[in-house]
Every structure is written in C-alpha cells, then in structure tokens.
Symmetry: C3
Subunit: 393 residues, 3 copies
Amino acid sequence: MDIKNKIKELEQLNQKMFGKDFLLTWEKSVDEIKSTLLVAEILNKMHKNNIVTKIFESGLGVSIFRDNSTRTRFSFASACNALGLDVQDLDENKSQIAHGETVRETANMISFMADVIGIRDDLYIGEGDKYQRQVADAVQFGFENKILHQRPTVINLQSDIDHPTQSMSDLAKIKDRFGNLENIKGKKIVMSWAYSPSYGKPLSVAQGMIGLLTRFGADVVLAHPKGYDLLPEVIELSKNNAKNSGGNFRISNDMNDAFKNADVVCPKSWASFKVMEKRRDLLHANDQNGLQKLEQDCLLENAQFIDWECNSKKMALTNNALYMHPLPADISGLSCKYGEVSNNVFEKNIWDTYNQASWKPMIITAMILLSKIKNPSKILRELLDNEKYRLSS
Amino acid sequence: MDIKNKIKELEQLNQKMFGKDFLLTWEKSVDEIKSTLLVAEILNKMHKNNIVTKIFESGLGVSIFRDNSTRTRFSFASACNALGLDVQDLDENKSQIAHGETVRETANMISFMADVIGIRDDLYIGEGDKYQRQVADAVQFGFENKILHQRPTVINLQSDIDHPTQSMSDLAKIKDRFGNLENIKGKKIVMSWAYSPSYGKPLSVAQGMIGLLTRFGADVVLAHPKGYDLLPEVIELSKNNAKNSGGNFRISNDMNDAFKNADVVCPKSWASFKVMEKRRDLLHANDQNGLQKLEQDCLLENAQFIDWECNSKKMALTNNALYMHPLPADISGLSCKYGEVSNNVFEKNIWDTYNQASWKPMIITAMILLSKIKNPSKILRELLDNEKYRLSS
Amino acid sequence: MDIKNKIKELEQLNQKMFGKDFLLTWEKSVDEIKSTLLVAEILNKMHKNNIVTKIFESGLGVSIFRDNSTRTRFSFASACNALGLDVQDLDENKSQIAHGETVRETANMISFMADVIGIRDDLYIGEGDKYQRQVADAVQFGFENKILHQRPTVINLQSDIDHPTQSMSDLAKIKDRFGNLENIKGKKIVMSWAYSPSYGKPLSVAQGMIGLLTRFGADVVLAHPKGYDLLPEVIELSKNNAKNSGGNFRISNDMNDAFKNADVVCPKSWASFKVMEKRRDLLHANDQNGLQKLEQDCLLENAQFIDWECNSKKMALTNNALYMHPLPADISGLSCKYGEVSNNVFEKNIWDTYNQASWKPMIITAMILLSKIKNPSKILRELLDNEKYRLSS
C-alpha cells in the first residue's frame, strides 16, 4: 500500500527534527525537508481514508497572529485538531500584554500546557523573525529551568524573512506535479513580482520560494521590476543553494524573459524591503500622514508596472507552466480593475491553486508531528494499524 | 427503554439526509423533519443520562456569524462538541476576506478539514439564503473536484428566509407539549407580530414558524398590523402546506382575534420586508443619514401598535395557550418601557421558554448527525450499547 | 510513589466540594483548601509524567472575561483542556446581551452543555462578586427546574472581593517553598502595596492573599500608605482568621517596617476602594471627563509614594524572603520609569514568580475536578492506573 511505502521511505531519511522549531526552511537539511513532505503526504492519505491521526490526548496549540489571516489560521487550527490539540488564540487586544511585559514572560505564561506555538509576524521588516526567536528562546529558558513541563515547538506561520508553511506547501505541490523531487532538477521555476493595486505586501512568500526551490537543482528565476528587491541575504543564500544543488539562480527585470519556457510560474506582488523599512518606521512612529504619503508614492510606483500581469499572452510563452499563487490573488476584472493575474488565467488554473492550498494544513501537521515524535515512522505505522476511524460509519 | 423505542421509530422513517445541507425546512420531507426531531430527542436523553454522543474523533465545525448571536453561537458550539468536533469561527474582521476574494475560494480554503459549516446571515434581505447556497455550491465544487476529502454540511443558523434551527426547536417543544405530532392537528397556533421599541428585526423567525407548522395540520394564524408583511413566497408556501396537510392558514390584522382560543402563541416583533429592503440598500450604500431616517420612521410606525403586547388580558383569550418566544424578548417594564410581552406573562412562562431554547443544541446536533451518518439508528444504538460515559464517576 | 501518597493524604481529608462553586476561599473549609492544593499537586505531577487527566469525554467550559486577561484566560483554557472540556468564550461584544436580557436568562442559555463557567469581573467594586452569584443562582434555578441536565460550576476568575485562583496558586507556591502547610505557622508574610504609574488596579489580589494566608497561623502584615485601604469586611475577616489559626494580622503604613525579617513578600499596587467606588460610578455614568480627572488625581496621589518600590535595599531587610507577584509587574527601568519592583530584584526572582504562575492552571483544574467528582481519590487512582499517555511516543 502507498502509505506503507512512504513510511518505509521516511525511515531511510536522516532527520533530527525532534524538539526543534520550524522557522526557516534553510535551517533544515534536505532530508528534513523530504521528511516533512513525506509525513504530509502520509497524513493527507490517512485523512482521505478516514484514519485517525491523533498523537495527543490533550494539549494546546497556541496561535499568535500579528496580521490578518484566513487560510493560515484555519490551516493551523486544522493541524492542531488533526493531532488532538485544542487551539487557543493569543489575541493581543484582549490580553494584558500592552502592560509592558517582556516576551520572555508572555511566552512562558501561555505555555504551561502548550505543545506548539504558531506565530505570524510579517508586518515589520527586521522584526518578525526576531520575535519568533525571542519566543523560542523564552520557552527554551522555561523548559530548561523546569518552569515548563514540555517545550512547545515554535512554528513560523509567516515572518518578515520566510513563510515556510507556504513554501513547503508549494514544494509539495511541485513534487506532486513532477512525480518526485528528483524531477525538479533543471525545471525552470519562476518567482515573479506582479502588479497589484495595493502596497506593503510581505516579501516572505517570494523569499521563501527562492530560498527553498534553489535547493533542488531547479533553474530558478526571480523576476521583478527594478527597485522591488528582496532581502540581500536571501538572494545570497539562494545563489549558494543553486551552486550546491547543481541548479541555477538568476534575477531578471523582464517578466516575459522570465516566463519563456518556464515549467512553474508564481506571479505575486510584494513591496521592496526599502519601502517595508520606511513603513515599519512610520508604523512605529504612528505617523499616519507619512504612511498615507508612502502608500501614494508606492501605488504610483506600482502603476508603472501595470503590465506585470500574468495573462494568456504571458502563459503562452511558458512550457505549459504550472501556475501557482498562495491566494488570495488580485484578479483583474474580478477583485480589482488591474491585478496580478487575468481572470481568464486564474479561472483556468483554479484547481491547481486550490490543490496547492490544500497542502498547508498537512504541512503544518507534519511539522508539529516531527518536532514532537522521535520515531515518526513507528507512530505513523501504529496509527495505520489501529484501524480507528475519524468519523463513525 | 424509551431511547430504544425512539431508535426503532426512527428506523421506520424514510429519510435521505445523508450528505445534504439543512437550509430551509420546506426542502425536507415530513419524514425527514420527523427524523430530525427523533434524533434530537434521543440525543437529549443520552446527554441527560451521561452517555457519550461522539461520532467524530477529530474534525472542525466552522461557524460564520454575520450578525451577533449568543444562543445560536452556543448551540452550534454545543452541537459540535457533543459530536466530537472542534469549533473554528471565521471572524471576517480578522481574515483577509475584505481583500476581495470569492465565496468559492473562501469556502474551500476553510474546509480542508471541516465537517460542517454553520452560517448566520440574516441582515440583508434577499441575500442571506443566497450566500449560504453559494457556500454550499462552493464546497460541492471542491468535493467533486477532489480538492476537499469530505464535503462539509452547510447548516442555516438563520437566513433572511428561514431560521430552521429555531423553528425545529419550536416544533420539538410543541410536540413535547401535545404528546406527539399527530396531536398538533387542528390546534390553533398563532405567530403574531408584537410591539418592540427597536426596528429591523429579521423576518425569518416568523417565516420559519408558519412555513413549518402549516405542514402538520394545525390551524395556523399569522397576525400582524397592516404593513408588516412577510415574504410573499413564504405566505404562498404556507397556504399550500396547510391545504396539503389538512390544516388551515390565514392572516389576521387583529391580535385579539388571533389569540382567541389559541393553543400556542408566539408573539414576536419583526420589520416588514419592504423596510428590510430599504435598509439593505442603505446599508450597502453606507448611507448613515438614510438609515437614521428609516429607523425613526419605523419606530414611529411601530409606536402606533404599542398595544400589540402579549399580556394577561390577551393570554386570557386563549385556550390556556403555550407561550413561546425565541428569546431574548423585549419585556415591558424589564428590558424596556413597552415591549413584546408583559413582565407578568413572561415570568409566568419562563420555564417553557427556557425549555424551548434547550432544544436548539439538540436539533443542531441531530441535523449534523443525519447529514453525516447513513444509518443513524445503527450508530445511535452503538453509542447506547458502548456504555461510555461523558463524565467519569 | 509520590502521587500515590498524595492520593492517600487526600482520602483523609473531609471535603464536600462536589457540586459547589468556588467563589471565595473563605467559603471553603481548611480541609477543602488542602484538598484543592493536593489535587493540584497530583495533577501537576501527572502532567509532568505525560499521564492523561481527562475526566470528560465531551462538554464545554464557558469563560466570561469582563476585563482583559492573558494568564488567567490561558490557565482556564489549560484546565478545561486537561480535563477534556472545550472552551467557549462568551464575548459580550458579539452577543445579543446588550439587548437587555437578564443574567438569569443568559446564564441558562449558555449552559445547556456547559460543565463549568469561569468569570472574571473585577472592574466594578461592589458588583463582581454579586454578578458571579447571580450566575450561580441562575444555573441553580435552571438545574432544579430541569432546564439544565447538569449544573455548571461557577469559578471565580477574579472578582472585586477575591481572586481565589491566584491566592490558591500563591499558597501552593508558599507550601512548596516551606515544605508543608504546617511550616507556614509563624512565618512573616507581607502583602504590601507598591508604587505603580497606573491607577485603578483591582484590590482582590491583596484581599485574596490576606483572607487566605491568615488561616494558616502565619504572621501576616498588610502594608500600604494611608488611604489605600482594602474592603473593611476582608480586614475584619483576616483578623478573625488570624485569631482562630493562632497567627497574627496587622496593618502597617511603613513598607520598611513590614519587610523587616519577612519570609515572604508580595509587593503589588492597587487602588483604594474609595477610588474604585468613584471610578465605578463614573464608569456607569460614562463620565469621561470625570474619569480623566480621577485618574490624574490618583496618579498624583500615587506619586507621593514612589519610594514604595521593592528593591535590593528593602529585600535586604527581609529574612531572605520569597518574592512573589501575580504578574505582570511594573518593573522600574524595564516596563516603566518607576514601578513596583526594581529590575534587579525582579530578575533575581524570576524563576520563583514564573513557578508561582505555573500553579494557576493546576489550581483551576483541581477546583473543577473537585466540584465534578464525588470521589476524587478513586478517579485520580484510575487515571494513574490507566497507563494512558498524553503524547504518544
């Protein structure tokens, strides 16, 4: 049976994810990335076959959303539920945190019975990843000092640097499309900026994509108009990844050039990190006029690149490429006048984008499971052999 | 034992609710209505006897409240909990939905591990039911296209047309009062408008009541001052129901006339659908002045009918009628100066109104169970025979 | 084994907590206080040893927070989760309660499947405890009249009078520090006011502390500047407690005097109840100018006592005292310029304050368990013997 084969494959991999956080994909080895994909695939098949995937009898998954979220919120809740955890959201508006307490304190106070903490913090460039590490250090301190009985795993639900639950879902989708990870070698994968009538979208989706896909020998092209640069350290890292994996990484300022013969395209808007830096400072200063001015300037700048739209013409340049988007997309003529993608292209590829999104709950479930279970193949085999069903029939 | 008899009775009924949504009671056959009542009664007795009613080992119940709610919110949460589902609320303020994404997309994104979606959408006349059907179509699309492993059931927690979890609870209460459904034949059941110092209350409670009760041979009277009309199609439908069931349906503009010899009275305020239409348009246009003007006009209009209060004098006209209200009521001298019901009458009938409300969690549990379980009598018998207790002792 | 000994100890105690609320510690006998501590200690060890502590297969824990909360919110959620209950928060902003319905009605409407209701209501002096009793009376009414199948236990998560989940956690910490409750006899325990740059903090932490610790033969000193009086009835009660337990209780207006040779110090800010009375009236009248004026007056008054800071100098006066704080503290130089405690003292004692806080989820779990289980030692022994683990391995 397929699930059993995947469990065997998992056993062959060398991973040390037990007790570890998941903050950046490039902090994980290739075997650990592969393990996460395999466990997600196994869980996906188990869920489809109505097999119970609970490894907890009780416990809490804590979510901290410092930015709005629908799909990641539901994905995290789904993952916790699938494993047997209840979700408790830390709503900073209803808490006493404004009071001036330290991250170390808050993190410990919410963790006495917490097994996982999922954090989205992508609004402030230079800060989101730092905050997640502060929380991780705080619960490590609490655990080492026997304040906490268990050390909750910190999962990055999007930071200023990476969005690993998204990029890992994207990788799962690409793996599924090409049959296996080896087949990604040499494929042309394009992460492209696209026009949007909004501003200030996080960079971390694009950064996550290039930081991860360059590790599998692909021919990765990052395309954006001049000025829409990503964090230099992620660019550096992607170059090195490509070198080490026998792949390729380059930046293009021409969307058509990038799309030519592409096997995968992911056209999505973002702000440049220089804009995000200004925005962060204005937000901290609560400078509403400054923010309005910045928004206007950025929208004007964006408006020069209204032709960076993924449409039939551009798709025709590709090698019948897989169209990807983390959703929701700005769809020309549907959710806005001009957007990231034409209604036509979006509609044609809707199954793929929804299917891509369906991986996120499974990826998060896999991340938690691997950080909690020393011997995952043993536990997965037990779940399979239990013959316990999720819904009675 | 009583539970076993009810399970046997359930087995006799011809119902095809498996995999179906529950949006309008008149989309269900009489046997399906009866099945829902029976399962609610069985679950009620099981809960009372500390018997576990879980049919899910994991899974999510998603709630979408586009209007405030206490009792329906808690009833839905209770129902999900009783069956083994965790509740995840889609708070549209904390999500990215404003972003302009389609209902099709949102519905699928929240449903990867959802087994049921409960929706309240009663503010905008002509829209609530439509939205619920859009969600239902969307998850049907997702399920058929293998985006979703399971097809979540959509439950109407109040729309602009019907409020089936309320009307079914009312029917359960009436059945309990008269011993069985057959005894409802010929009983005079009055759904009456009542004065309230507020405006814009949904019509769906009244519509749900007349649309359901007319199917059981009752002598249903809808009473309201001129101008407080309900949706014409529901009036039409109620007339036909009455004809088919051997009952009666008429509209009266005189509360006293309606109350005369009534066996059941449900006096409750609502706006006319013409007002609701104006209100909807003003809300969409965000016309605050227009809304204030409309409210003043309506309150002035309401004020002409301040004598439409259910008080001792009116109750004395009845045949010792059962007083019903979906709660909370506007109680004269308690929650307002003049209201739907006198403090005296409300206080006298408090047990019945609370008992009426106690059916709602059971009705929702039954609706979910019947949509999820092909052979409900088998599962209910197993739950009964398991001898597993909800609270250890 | 340690857990088994504690269960045996529990068996010796005479407690009648089954079916009872937990509103004020002084409504509980000394044996009941001891039972709560023992059960909390047993649950703590079970949780540490990965042993399942569920006594419910399904059911709801309802929380009502009429004031912001992080740690109590998470403690309540953790306690419910540890016992097998799902949490449903009654968010009064999203409900129809403003509508004018009675406490009796709301309490019953949310309780059809509720096993426990936790309430924080500490903003309005003279009202919080009353509200909790109204809720308790309401569900008692519902249960006696067979509207509710089960009678949810009401747990005080902080009222205007007492904060029992805090004071019981404090007692657990003190017991742990001194080895057993007997050793508290004769120890000098100081509940001291401390300076804070905010105003209007509840009195109930201080009241809870002196009302509870005076029952164990300690030498309890309440210290505060003139004018920062607590509720007279709690002072009276503390005096009587001290007399009955062979301990001592006195009020000092000198922080240094209080700290001299102290074994435990708990320096924490509060407002006087006279200020809280004015504030309550202004809040009810929604008198924003009056509130601002009151705040300014109070902060000016506070500012006279800026030297009421717990710092190294003051700690040096003590008998190497245990420093306690319910958290979050106002830390000089960290969360504010001048506060309740110097950064130095707070940092040195961080382990103890975090450890103190870790008792709260366990104390709440114990409170619920004792109100739900007639024979707790039997159930705890069964949980221990089940060899069921919280997290698979």
